[in-house]
């Protein structure tokens, strides 16, 4: 899976999990949004290092890391999609709220 090549994680002595993600692939926003989605299960922080985005999660069970990473990967994909289609989304809304013809 993606995170095997692009990041690593380890369990810390205090029971929290430390995840290092490749900043070329993961934005801080993607990490933050993923953290927000799992915030019913754990608490956490996201910080930016030079080449990586670092995430620390506290609480949660053994499925937490996979759960978090799957969501982060989806947000990475959503960011790619939004980058390509944001202008079209605006165009569709502009059409929605205006009377236009097609010619």
């Amino acid at each position: 899976m993606v995170w095997m090549e692009t990041g690593s994680w380890q369990e810390m002595a205090d029971g929290s999990v430390f995840i290092r993600l490749d900043a070329k692939i993961y934005s801080e926003t993607a990490a933050l949004k993923a953290l927000h989605e799992v915030s019913a299960l754990c608490t956490g922080t996201v910080s930016r290092a030079s080449n990586s985005v670092e995430v620390r999660l506290t609480g949660g069970d053994s499925t937490l890391v996979e759960n978090f990473l799957r969501r982060a990967n989806d947000y990475v994909l959503r960011e790619k999609l939004d980058k390509q289609t944001a202008a079209l989304r605006d165009l569709i809304l502009a059409h929605t709220f205006s009377k236009t013809d097609l010619s």
Partner: protein, 479 residues
């Protein structure tokens, strides 16, 4: 292909395809569901979504044509206009403004239901009945709404304890709204129905909405009254009312308590045996008395979702056997999933239908954005009161919390909702989130509202996708 030689064979796609905006979420362990800008969905897998976004979906992919036909990819200039027209249709109910107007004609009631937030077992008319003057002022607001379709719903307490005022309001509304399509609905337990009421309601085309929680043992446990005979009284009255007004003029409304959770099939069967063609599997609202007695009658959302699935399955089975009965929440969601037609249900749209879809005039003249707003008020929190019937109409709408509430709670802006594939199907419930989470935007990862709707929407999409028999039944309920 055996075409006559003078005909051309099919071409390859000549135009490169443009990627269109869409949203996606995991559907189950294996599959994803993607929804386009207009609300059309496709069940697929993550690989397909990733190739689509990377522009690497092979033309021979089994869903390549579907992605194009359902506007995830475009080769035609018309696509933008078609998507825009779908969104416009979805929002086309908004300009009509408030269509549902609820009048709390009294708080007095003969029942003392655990989950009821507001009712009083009392004889004190002066304290708990709406006055004709208050009704007059409220009616003036009703007809300030531009909506061509007005629904006036009488709420209680037990509404029939103040039938004189109901008559007064109906007579006045028919004069004031002579050029509109007006529908009257009385929410009642039918305990105080008599010939005079029946005859009047028959003549004025009034509808009844009756509380019915399930079979007698369950209904009577949920709805205590002196004599413990609520179910028997409903059943008896139902027969009389239908005989005079017709079956279609009486609908039933259920509330799911903790006790109900163990009896999904029995509840559905009770609705069928009493001849109802609609059942609305409604979760308990987390307000007022319901909140105080939560330990006794409340439950976790996943328990409700399990209940819902079993009950829906039972409903579908009845249809397959030839008895048509529709589950109303499913029907509402299907309409939002399968079509772009607008739906009027206040808690399942964005912006929320509070105020702009529904207004409630309380017995004491206070105006609320929704039924639950006055229930919260009984708990001492008047946040959802937007004024008094004697206030100016413009002031009610613009001089209150209403507009900020609507704006800030729109799914297009709420964290998680804004990225959610289902945000065109689902809606926002600022009051629910205020009540359960402390602010009207709320926190979706811990929201029961979010959990419940996500699970139910996914369940319906799976039924449509995987189970041909269920799909035929569900589609037969439409549009």
């Amino acid at each position: 292909m055996n075409l006559n030689r003078t005909f051309l064979q099919p071409e390859k796609n000549s135009q490169p395809a443009t990627l269109l905006p869409f949203r996606f979420v995991p559907l189950d362990e294996l599959r994803y569901v993607a929804v386009n800008a207009g609300g059309e969905h496709i069940v697929t897998d993550r690989n397909a979504i990733e190739s689509l976004i990377d522009g690497k979906l092979p033309v021979e992919h089994p869903q390549a044509d579907d992605f194009e036909a359902r506007h995830f990819l475009s080769r035609e200039k018309t696509t933008i206009a078609m998507l825009a027209s779908q969104i416009r249709t979805r929002l086309s109910g908004l300009p009509d403004f408030t269509g549902l107007h609820m009048f709390v004609v009294t708080l007095r009631c003969d029942h003392s239901c655990q989950y009821c937030q507001v009712s009083r077992v009392s004889e004190d008319r002066a304290a708990f009945d709406m006055t004709p003057e208050t009704a007059d002022a409220a009616l003036a607001h009703v007809f300030k709404s531009p909506s061509p379709h007005i629904k006036i719903e009488f709420q209680g307490g037990e509404t029939l304890l103040n039938f004189e005022l109901i008559k007064y309001i109906i007579e006045k509304a028919m004069i004031l709204g002579a050029n509109r399509d007006i529908q009257f609905v009385i929410a009642t337990n039918l305990g105080f129905i008599d010939e005079e009421i029946i005859n009047y309601c028959r003549d004025k085309q009034v509808f009844f909405s009756v509380s019915l929680d399930g079979p007698a043992f369950l209904h009577d446990a949920n709805r205590p009254r002196p004599g413990n005979d609520s179910h028997a009284r409903v059943k008896n009255a139902l027969h009389r009312v239908r005989n005079s007004l017709g079956v279609e003029r009486v609908s039933a409304l259920m509330t799911t308590t903790k006790l109900s959770l163990s009896y999904p099939k029995e509840i559905v069967d009770e609705y069928v045996s009493l001849g109802f063609d609609t059942i609305f599997l409604r979760p308990l609202s987390d307000y007022g008395f319901a909140s105080r007695s939560r330990g006794k009658i409340g439950y976790q959302s996943n328990a409700f979702v399990d209940f819902f699935k079993v009950a829906l399955d039972r409903v579908i089975k009845w249809n397959l056997k030839g008895t048509r009965i529709v589950e109303a929440y499913t029907h509402l969601l299907l309409r939002r999933i399968l079509t772009s037609y607008p739906t009027g249900y206040v808690d399942l749209q964005s912006p929320s239908g509070m105020g702009i879809g529904a207004l409630l005039y309380n017995y004491n003249g206070k105006v609320y954005t929704a039924d639950e707003g006055r229930m919260l008020a009984e708990m001492g929190d008047d946040t959802f009161c937007i004024g008094h019937v004697n206030d100016d109409y413009g002031n009610l709408i613009h001089g209150s919390n209403l507009v900020p509430m609507l704006r800030e709670s729109m799914v297009e802006a709420v964290p998680m909702c804004s990225d959610c594939a289902f945000n065109l199907y689902c809606g926002t419930d600022p009051l629910y989130h205020y009540r359960s989470q402390g602010d009207w935007v709320g926190h979706r990862p811990t929201s029961d509202f979010c959990f419940r709707n996500m699970e139910i929407i996914k369940h319906l999409i799976c039924l449509l996708e995987d189970d041909r028999e269920s799909r035929e039944v569900l589609m037969s309920w439409m549009p």
